[in-house]
Structures are given as C-alpha cells and as structure tokens.
C-alpha cells in the first residue's frame, strides 16, 4: 500500500446523504476479477445526468470528494473504494461513514475523514464559490485546511500509523502467527469444519 502522509488537491461537493455503495458502483460493474478499471462504473447512474456534479468541467481535476451524511451504506463491495481510487480520489470527507465502507477505505489507502456536518457545509460552500480552492488533508497533524481555515479530525493512532507507513494488515498479522497457532490449539472440538464434505 502507498504511504499516505498528506494530500493537497481540489474538492468536489456531493450534496447528497445516504450515498450507498450501489450508487457508488452498481452491481453490474462488479464482474471484473481485477482491482483496476472500475472508474467507468463510479456513480454510473448519476453520471448519465449531464448536470451531475462529476460531469461539471470545473470539478474534473478534483481529488477530494466532500459528501453528505452516511456515505457508503449498504453492500460491503470494496469495489466502491477501488472505483473512487481508480477515478482519482484520494480523500472522501463526510460527517458519517458506514462501518464496512470506512474499514475498506482505510485498508486500501483511501482516506475517509469525518468532519462535523457544519464543517462539511462550510467546505461545500467554499468549493462552490471557488472550484479551484486548494484543500490540504494532513495525517501528521490530523487537519483539513483551506483558505487559512483549519479543522482537525479524529483517527485512531493505529490506523494513522498504518496509513503513514503504508503497511498492510496481513503482513502485520503474519508477524504474530504464533499467537494464532496457540489459539487454534485450544479451540473446542465441536466447532464445525467444512472439510471433508459431509452432506
């Protein structure tokens, strides 16, 4: 995973709440067996509307998506994270994310930042006033800054460290395999096994 320390870019205001992962990428786009190429499915239904914010030329270079409350609800599809990343987004800001989407994003290096709804609205206003507005998201200081305004956000130290070091979880767990082996020794015998096939 690529390290994430800070990112500076322009934003795009997505003034919608409850953006579920079926909107982020509809099921018919989930048939690929790779992790790339999902950008064509990103917000596919909404993008067919020429007035949709992603179709506006002033936001074409944006890398920071600023969305309404409850972003990423519904299906666990990590393709939603890949679609956002494949399209070019580095950061998503919202006042609340669905649990599974948030987990997926932070595993994959797409930074999801939780700000109070009032700050999200202030940011929407600032971006709409000036689409070229430069926004910086810094993990070192855990802040989002623009136009001399700076607002801090929360992220647990462990996840922050993992993102800043670009470490993937599997490698970290592999260091502790002896704990897994010890645990397996004392698992109850009645726990079911899928093999051999008994049906």
């Amino acid at each position: 995973m690529e390290k994430f320390i800070s990112h500076t870019g322009t934003g795009i205001p997505l003034r919608r709440s409850n953006v579920d992962t079926d909107q982020i990428i509809p099921a018919v786009y989930l048939k690929r067996v790779t992790r790339s190429g999902f950008e064509d499915g990103l917000f596919a239904a909404w993008r067919s509307d020429p007035d949709f914010v992603l179709n506006k030329p002033e936001y074409s270079k944006a890398t920071i998506l600023v969305a309404g409350v409850d972003f990423g609800t519904g299906s666990s599809r990590e393709h939603a994270v890949w679609a956002l990343q494949n399209y070019g987004f580095k950061v998503v800001i919202s006042s609340r994310f669905a649990d599974i989407f948030r987990g997926n994003s932070l595993k994959g290096g797409l930074l999801t930042v939780i700000l109070p709804q009032s700050e999200v609205e202030a940011l929407w206003g600032a971006i709409e006033k000036n689409p070229a507005l430069s926004i910086s998201v810094d993990l070192e200081s855990k802040t989002v800054s623009y136009e001399g305004h700076s607002v801090s956000f929360d992220l647990d130290d462990y996840t922050r460290w993992r993102l800043m070091e670009g470490l993937d979880d599997i490698g970290l767990t592999m260091r502790n395999l002896s704990d897994v082996e010890q645990f397996e020794q004392k698992r109850a015998k009645f726990k079911p096994k899928t093999l051999p096939v008994l049906s």
Partner: protein, 478 residues
Amino acid sequence: MTVVVRRGVRKVIMGKTLAEKVWEDHVVRRTAGEPDLLYIDLHLIHEVTSPQAFDGLRLSGRKVRRPDLTLATEDHNVPTLNIDKPIADPVSKLQVDTLRNNCKEFGVRIHSLGDVEQGIVHVVGPQLGLTQPGMTIVCGDSHTSTHGAFGALAFGIGTSEVEHVLATQTLPLAKPKTMAINVEGSLKPGVTSKDIILAIIAKISTGGGQGYVLEYRGSAIRALSMEARMTICNMSIEAGARAGLIAPDQTTFDYIQGRPHAPQGEEWDAAVAYWKTLKSDDDAVFDKEIYLNADELSPFVTWGTNPGQGIPLNDSVPNPQEFTDPEERTAAERALVYMDLQAGTPMKKIKIDTVFLGSCTNGRIEDLRAAAAIIKGNKVAANTRMMVVPGSARVRLQAEAEGLDQIFLAAGAEWRSAGCSMCLGMNPDQLQPGERSASTSNRNFEGRQGKGGRTHLVSPLVAAATAIRGTLSSPADL
C-alpha cells in the same frame, strides 16, 4: 454483577452482553493501542468479492490457512434459468470460472451451479449446520449478519479483509458498542419478522446502528422460528450495524440438531452446554437500548430509496415537508421524485409491475410456504409479473417435494433456480427503467434491482397478496 474476593482484594465483575462474550472467546491477541485480533470460525466466499483476494494470495506466495473453515458457493452472478447450460454472459462466466479455479488451486470446498448444496451463502451455511451459536462468521457480503440469528457474531467484510482471513484465519477489529433492541408482545396475524425489522430501521434510521452490534431480545423475538430470526438479523446492516444477533435457545438447538455439520454424541452435549451460556447477563449494560411493541405492528412497506424510509402499509406516502430534519427532508424529496410518487397517495393504491419473492432475507422454505398458502387457488394479476427464486437448490427441492412450485406455476408465477437474482440485479434478473417492484429483498436503493427500477420492500405475505391484486396489498385485503 459478581463480587470476587481473591487474596483479600474485592473485585467487582460486571455482566457481559452476548456480543461481548462471543468477542472475548475469539481474541487471539490483545495489545494496547491496537485493534483486537479475532479468530474466525467460518469464512464463506462467493464469486464477486473473492477474485482479487485470491490474486493477492498468489502475488505474495501465501496459502489459504484453513481451507477446512472455508466454504464457497456461487450465488450473486449466476443465472436462475437454464442453469444446465454455460453462462451466457462471458464476463459473468469468467468470474464464476475464476472462483472455481481459485477453489481448486487453494483446496477450498465449493458448491457450484447444479450442485444440490448450491445457493445463497447465507442460506447454505445454516442449512448445512455450519452456522452455530458462539461462532465468528465472516463473508465478503454485508448480509452475513444473517447468521447472527444463531447467536454467532457474523458480519460482512471487504475484499482486503477476505484476503486477510484466507491468509491468517483472523481479522484485526475494533470492538463495537452494543445496542439492545427489545421487542415485547406478540405479532398479529399477517405480521412477520420482516415487518419487525422494517419498523426498527424506520425507527432508528439507516445510520442508527452505525458502530454497534445489535442484540434483538424480548418475547416477540423468542417466539420466532429460526428462519424468521434470520430475516431480522439479515437486515441489521440496513440499520447501519455490521452485526445483529439473538441469544440461542431450544429453538436454535432443535434447528441445528441432525444437520450434516451439527456436532454429534458427546460433542453435541458439550456444544449445547457451551451454547446455553451464550446470553447477555442480567446485569450486562448495553451502550444503548431501544424498545418496540410487537402488538402495535402491522405490515410494513418502504416508500423511498433507503430501507429506513418505511411506513405501515395502511398509511399514505409521506409529505417531505413534515420531516423536521433538513437532511431527511431533502432525501425524502429526492426519493419521491425517483420513485415517481405523490405525497398523500395511499400506499395500497400503488400499482406493482413485478413481485420478487426470494433473497437471503426471505428466500427460505418458510417464506415460500407462507407465500404459497396465499397464492394457492389465485392468479397473479394481469399486468403483474411474479418471480419466485428459492434461496438455495435444497430449498427449491424441498418446495417441489411439497408441491409449492405447482401452486406458483398454476397462478402464473415464474419458478426459478437458486441465487441472489433480482435482489441486486447483477445477473439478467433485472427491473426495466421505470418498472416498479414489491420485493422481499433487503434494499430499495436507486437502481438496485436494475437501472431506473423502483423498489418497495415487503414481507413474503405482502408480496403474495400484492401479486394477486396488482397493487401493494396485505393478505387481509384479499
């Protein structure tokens, strides 16, 4: 609360909730400042969210650590007609073939299309007896919460986590908060567990359960069958909760006993002894509690584009201006435009083009029986289409043995093979733009069942009555 005195030191031990007990029993490693590393007892996989995970294993030269705790089925992307012929869509075929090849390469058991154990992962696990109380169960599918009906801690994961579980049989996780949902009283005839969960989601909203594990409790929950409990736990994710569970009881034990992977002999006794400890202690403290009166519930239906936008079927389409929260008001306005509905229209006046009976929410044998009992001797309305898609090949066979297929076919409904089908519209089973469905599935998102499609979530009973009348209806309207 228990008071323990050891070496003269008095220590107070607070009771634990069910979710905390299952969590604590699976902690492999706990270090300050890090998420707990949890052991995973059962990992279910399917064709859509696993290919990139297997690819990851190959790239780093890793194996599947415990193929004997892993099970694959084909469900999301498979056709429900002509399943004996090759899959027509080459992209879908490649995805299914990729799963088959990965399972072969890594030694994972798979139930493919045509196999008697094939079906939706969340129907297959319980049916085989692989879903048992006190287990941790994960799958790259958000409706894994279904298995919580057995008192298991079960939740959906992303593909990175699928790879992590394949490689290590563990997951690093932050401990969630707990919420008790107390449902007391008894359901009136014609009211089902689907109506309970739709009412809960309408009450707490799609974000209300975010960060929590839900525990469904109370006399109304105790009275439910295992299949009805699965319907409730299934939709925990629609309230924003990654997992929802119900304490196991005799109903649970009776359901499991005798299934292929149920413990046997002495192991059965040991298992039941452990399972009986799996309930929230009387003095356990939940982070949040909510209450619902089952006596007051009536058939529920959604009017909008998220599962929290639901009302009793007897009500009318709400007026967005009546929502005090500005976000909710805007969402309601948008939803009515998308759904092409006018505020004030009685829900029962809404015409339905397609009725979908199936999915991991309501595609089990009891659901098919309940719907067939209403359909029997009636005809599906002239301008309405009804699709019946059993949750698994076994459910289909059981239904056919009971003659349910003939009841549906005689009424003019379609009888299909097992899979996720129109619940998510990934295979050819999709709504056309502008088409309106009454669906026993779990999500009414924009375009969920096909681009431009409009979905009303309902129980199997409402689905059956709606198919006959052609407008949203309850059995009492027949």
